[in-house]
Amino acid sequence: MNVRSQISMVFHLDKCIGCHTCSIACKNIWTDRKGTEYMWWNNVETKPGTGFPTRWEDQDKYHGGWQAKDGKLELKSTSKAKTVFNIYHNPSMPTMDDYYEPWTYDYQHLFNAPEGPDQPTARPISMVTGELINIESGPNWDDDLGGSPIYAANDPNLKGLSAEQQAQLQAVERLVFFYFPRICNHCLNPGCVAACPSGALYKRGEDGIVLVDQTRCRGWRACVAACPYKKVFYNWSTGKSEKCILCFPRIETGQAPACFHSCVGRIRYLGVLLYDASRIEEMAGKPDEELVEAHRSLILDPNDPEVIAAARANGIHDSVIETAQKSPVYQFVKEWKIALPPHIEFRTMPMLFYVPPMSPVMSNRTDGKIEHVSEDLFHDIDEARVPMQFLANLFGAGHESKVRYALRKQKAVRWYRRALTVGDVTMETAERMLREADCTKEEAEAIYKLTSLCTFDDRFVIPPAHREEALQMLDGVFEHKQAAGFGFISGPQRGM
């Protein structure tokens, strides 16, 4: 057992209202610089939809992530040999058009336009070329099903759905969507780190945050191709790659990352998980249907004395172990099993988990009257408008059982709380549903509390940073003290 600690996340999709506040918070802090205009370290996608960059989930095109060949993991985009041949031209790079060409507007024209018969307008100007452009797409172009006959209809997660189910998703007055906010997953088995020819990407030992060393990065962009979530971006101005840093300067000072802090729907949870690093490769090579369970098995019980002893032996501070014991992420993922990793079939072992969303019941429209399939307030989850297979493609590598389990438990908790507070359903029924959903009353209460009544401190259990100990892992402290101190700070730039 090789115990390490990782700051992990849960996004509760049932609570996301798609307001993009997280994206803006992130943009204002990190990606408002030259060369980063098109980057959205945090973005919110509408599902069904093609996301950002367009159809990023389609790895037949983008070649991101890992594939298991006879239990051995290989990157799809590159290998030692391919790195040599593709070093000056990485063939699996998304084009600017697949992200979007960032633009601003010619606002000055509103003030400086000569007098004329029409209102002056601020025309869009490309932030790359400075020329006037016709805007063809943006980072959330398909937001709220915008252009859905093209975008939503081409969501890669529709794979395996019958033509009827797909038609239902599109039908007017029955169509449905939910939001899917995304940041870097800070994976346990990151493809970006493995692909980098310069060794510029690394996973921080103390908290598992994946970072790009801006002085070592040579801009080969192998990481951009290798990340299946397309969350590493190339800065055309500095010639280096950049990605979500999980606001580590904030985390180190005990604050939640900006996107977490600003979240209006309070959908985001952050906490420490202890995991077994020695079994990552074995677990990431399992067949698709076992992956969710294999991934979960890597996460260790922070209350287990054996785990605690192994953690201490690995230099994990007691205060970190304590925060791991209070981690909301651990509860969602490991105890309640209602949070699931996105696209685990990419085999990067993402450490951002999603609670799959409930959706309204299906309905029929006959003679101008809308009839619901079920009259129940909390209908059967198989009659939900978002087909189970769709969610399974997103959160279960195409297999429904884990998603069904998570949704059933959520539904049982709703029934239970309805029986307690409103009383129009009997407690007997509620208890039966809890039993069927593998949930106790205490657990239901805890889920309810952490979902609905969670305070700031419940949601974000941030471990003390202990930078001094992190340094000890890499360096002699006294040597570091001599070498640090006063110096010159220079920003990343092109060239050696």
């Binding site: 960059p53 159809r55 063939p91 699996s92 058009d97 697949d98 794979k159």
Partner: protein, 284 residues
């Protein structure tokens, strides 16, 4: 500053080398000069090749005329000198080239040399080194080998095909740096003239290449056989080889692109644009 000094040094060195370089040619002995520059067109007592036999030339014209003519033959012809024009007609229109290194001093030395050689019973430049025997099929086969370089030249000179082509050269033809040799017999005036040329090539390019690697008489005969054969067969095949050359070039390029396209068919192309503009619709 240091850099500028270096540049001036290089410049100075270049100028010095440029001044010094022609000297050895100027300081050459007339016999060596004749062997290198004149022998391919002239004999001394061996009869006309491309140019006239130079035996007794000093009796035919006075030294002053010869000196002037030999330094710039073309000027003499253009100047309308009757004898010079007659010489040109006799040489079937070939104008004697201006020889590098033929200055007034060398011209004087050369005329003295010709005078001396003419008085000998048999000059070393009387020609006739190349045998007159009829050329055989064996010669032709050997000539091909030498021309194509499958058999190396004895003194290590490069094979003819590197720079020359002929009507009888198959495939894509030979090199195109030097002239096409199909009709060289007609141009230079027959076997004897071409043979003399091969003994001592007269162009600066050939000279610099074959200076240390002269052809052997037993190599010249087979090559003559090859040239003769080409002259007999004519230039028709040569034209088609040029067309073939371009067709093969374009064909090869197209094939190469197709192969690369096939090898890279899984490469990333745009996603959003084809999706929106119809290319990918209905794929799911």
């Amino acid at each position: 500053m240091r850099r500028n000094w270096m540049r001036e040094w290089y410049l100075a060195a270049g100028v010095i080398v440029g001044l010094v370089a022609p000297w050895p040619a100027g300081a050459q002995k007339p016999a060596d000069f004749f062997r290198q520059n004149c022998m391919s067109c002239h004999t001394i007592g061996g009869g006309r090749i491309t140019g006239p036999d130079l035996k007794g030339v000093t009796q035919r014209k006075d030294a002053a005329w010869l000196e002037k003519f030999v330094q710039n033959p073309k000027a003499a012809i253009d100047g309308g000198d009757a004898y010079a024009v007659q010489l040109q007609q006799e040489a079937r229109g070939v104008i004697m080239p201006t020889i590098p290194g033929m200055n007034a001093e060398m011209a004087k030395a050369m005329i003295a040399f010709l005078d001396a050689e003419s008085k000998l019973a048999k000059s070393q430049f009387a020609g006739g080194a190349i045998s007159d025997r009829p050329l055989t099929a064996v010669d032709l086969a050997l000539g091909r080998e030498l021309f194509y370089g499958t058999k190396k030249l004895a003194n290590g000179g490069p094979a003819c095909v590197n720079c020359h082509t002929m009507g009888t050269v198959g495939g894509l033809g030979g090199g195109r740096l030097g002239p096409d040799l199909t009709l060289v017999y007609a141009r230079l005036g027959g076997r004897k003239a071409v043979g003399a040329w091969l003994v001592a090539p007269a162009t600066p390019t050939m000279q610099s290449v074959f200076r240390g690697a002269a052809l052997q008489p037993e190599e010249i005969l087979p090559l003559l056989a090859m040239v003769e054969d080409a002259a007999r067969q004519g230039p028709a095949a040569n034209q088609s080889s040029l067309v073939k050359f371009f067709v093969a070039g374009f064909g090869g390029l197209t094939l190469g692109l197709v192969l690369l396209g096939a090898a890279w068919r899984g490469r990333f192309k745009a996603v959003r644009r084809p999706l929106v503009h119809g290319g990918m619709r209905g794929e799911e």
